[in-house]
Amino acid sequence: MEVFLQQLINGISLGSIYALIALGYTMVYGIVQLINFAHGDVYMVGAYLGFFATAILGWPFLPALLLSMVVCAILGMVIEKLAYTPLRNAPRIAALITAIGVSLFLEYGMMLLVTPQVRTFPQVLPEVQYKLLGNLVITNRQIIILVVTIALMLLLQYIVHKTKIGKAMRAVSHDKQAAQLMGINVNKTISATFAIGSALAAAAGVLVGIYYNAINPLMGIMPGLKAFVAAVLGGIGIIPGAMTGGFLLGIVEAMVSGYGKSLYRDPVAFVILIIILIVKPAGLFGKNVREKV
């Protein structure tokens, strides 16, 4: 039982990272129906900015986080303007390919800029361990990431469903022309979407950088992919879905490693994923509405 609970904690803390990245992923997808493959790389850039601010400039945690979020928000908008806006009326797959291009560009551009070397964060958030119920270990960083993930999920959900910009986002996602007729500025709305999504990615990057203490230019690929999986698992475009999907994926991975064989963790995790999708073809939270004919 104790081991199970510890594994649950491990799974949730791993999952909260997937979830954190998946939130921005799913939001951008929800609004522009674009699988922004570069999202994982914006996360990487965010981590490097955090590293730059803390290790080179010697800033404390919060200002560093803020800097990273702001710069990445701008980066997100720039990427959107240069690489996606011209393709807004093109087939979706074209934007997907440029997204892959942007992703490669960020990865290898960064590699040229900072070398492929691993970088390590300075100790900006001293680690504290807590013991629960006897032997369960949990650290303050795990708690911070979990809390931040949930808070950001709630915040995003609020923004998208309750605020004016959120309503505009959803309108734009369904019909850009009609949205314009409502007086919505489509360009600004999409820019805002990318800014928010990228800022979220940056936050994830900094937190993860501090948590695991090592960053490199390719660090975004796997988490990006897993976050995408998490977003789809929850029902892509659905914010609480992304979070649930992230947690679920993390817990599944932890349980397979802990109780099965770590060798088979990824295959088993993917098998479970496919089974979930077969049972719920639109993801856990997705409504499987038949197109009205």
């Binding site: 081991v3 510890q6 594994q7 491990n10 799974g11 803390s13 791993l14 990272i17 290898y108 590699m111 070398t115 492929p116 070397q117 691993v118 390590t120 680690e127 361990q129 270990v137 650290t139 993860v208 695991y212 203490n213 090592a214 490199n216 390719l218 660090m219 690929i221 796997m222 988490p223 991975e253 932890a254 349980m255 490693s257 802990g258 109780y259 064989k261 770590s262 060798l263 990824d266």
Partner: protein, 372 residues
């Protein structure tokens, strides 16, 4: 590729000896390839500054194999047919090296890998024949694995061990396999075998499981980036027993990632140590730092040594032809390199010992030197 004809002319330039580099400059082990290539370049520059070899300047054509075996074959073909190289250095991993040695052998071009430690690289596992054209500058996995198993049993008095390997790395799996063989043969018991993949960030689930297995030591032959995170997280979940590893641990980054505290009570085998009190090592570290601004890790040292070995062979070959270079390589004896005085055995492996280092408060402390 375009511009082939022009390049062929250039390659045939009588005043140059062209040596190919088939290294990982991008992809997931780009750090190794870059370090090794840097090491090699450093030595070639030295040689050229001193007038070259056989009165010719060395031209080092270094191409990127993207950390992919197929690309490595592609690169080798290009080096051989386009750039007319007389020998190829690389790659840094056994997997990538295996991808192209057949191409080189077919074309009778010698290959000298800096750090592919898997035995199959120089000996064909199917025929048990030595691969005529393939050599390496590093010791091999069985040696390293065995050394560590002995160390665990004898020096650490361990009876049980858990093996935790990088599932995507033949290197890591090779070391683990030989550790296991040696450890169990001598009465030790492997109580668990776990795996991770290099992209992993979080190892806590598996580590929690390992903690439950309660081993005397954990053998974790991987590369420093993951090992750093693993050791750090292992201490967080409360594993206090020693962690053991191989040359993949060697990097100043290891302590940065894991934290000096967490790394205490860990040991690894290595080709050399940048902290080693040896004039050759000291000189190399200085030169490397001056040129690249970093402390060289063992990949860099081995890249440098590969260059040393190949230049030595070219010198002795007389005419610098691939065939003669191969013969000269075979006869390599007592060449002074950074990682020791090197001679090749009948399997084209250098005869050299391994250093066992202990991490103490973030510093590599020289523990013992084990001769083969």
């Amino acid at each position: 590729g375009g511009g082939g004809a022009k390049e062929e002319k250039k390659a045939a330039d009588a005043n140059e000896i062209v040596i190919g580099g088939n290294f990982e400059l991008s992809g997931n082990v780009a750090t190794f390839g870059t370090a090794a290539a840097n090491g090699a370049q450093l030595y070639f520059d030295e040689v050229n500054a001193a007038g070259g070899v056989l009165n010719k300047k060395i031209k080092f054509v270094n191409l990127d194999n993207k950390s992919d075996a197929t690309e490595a074959a592609n690169v080798a073909t290009r080096l051989i047919t386009q750039d007319k190289v007389v020998a190829i250095l690389g790659a840094t991993t056994s997997g990538d090296t295996l991808g192209f040695i057949q191409v080189a052998t077919d074309n009778k071009i010698p290959v000298l890998t800096s750090s592919a430690t898997n035995p199959d690289v120089t000996v064909d596992p199917n025929t048990k024949q030595v691969r005529e054209y393939v050599f390496r500058a590093c010791f091999i996995d069985p040696f390293q694995g065995t050394v560590m198993a002995n160390f665990a049993l004898k020096d650490l008095k361990a009876k049980t061990a858990v093996i935790y390997v990088d599932n995507n790395s033949p290197y890591s799996k090779g070391l683990a396999q030989f550790f296991k063989e040696s450890f169990t043969k001598q009465g030790g018991k492997i109580v668990g075998e776990e795996a991770f993949v290099p992209e992993d960030q979080d190892f806590k689930a598996t580590l929690t499981k390992i903690k439950g297995l309660n081993p005397d030591v954990v053998y974790c032959p991987g590369y420093y980036e993951q090992v750093g995170k693993i050791v750090k997280q292992a201490r967080e979940v409360g594993i206090t027993v020693p962690f053991l590893g191989g040359d993949g641990w060697d990097s100043p980054k290891l302590a940065e990632i894991a934290g000096a505290q967490a790394l205490n009570n860990t040991f690894f085998s290595n080709h050399y140590s940048s902290e080693q009190d040896d004039p050759n090592v000291k000189a190399f570290v200085e030169k490397y730092k001056a040129k690249y601004g970093q402390v060289p890790d063992s990949m860099a040292a081995l890249g440098y040594d590969a260059a040393v070995l190949i230049v030595d062979a070219i010198k002795r070959s007389g005419d610098g032809s691939p065939e003669k270079i191969k013969e000269a390589l075979k006869a390599t004896k007592d060449v002074q390199a950074v990682t020791g005085k090197l001679s090749f055995d009948e399997n084209h492996n250098p005869v050299k010992g391994a250093a066992i280092l202990e991490m103490k408060d973030g510093k590599q402390v020289y523990k013992t030197y084990v001769n083969p």
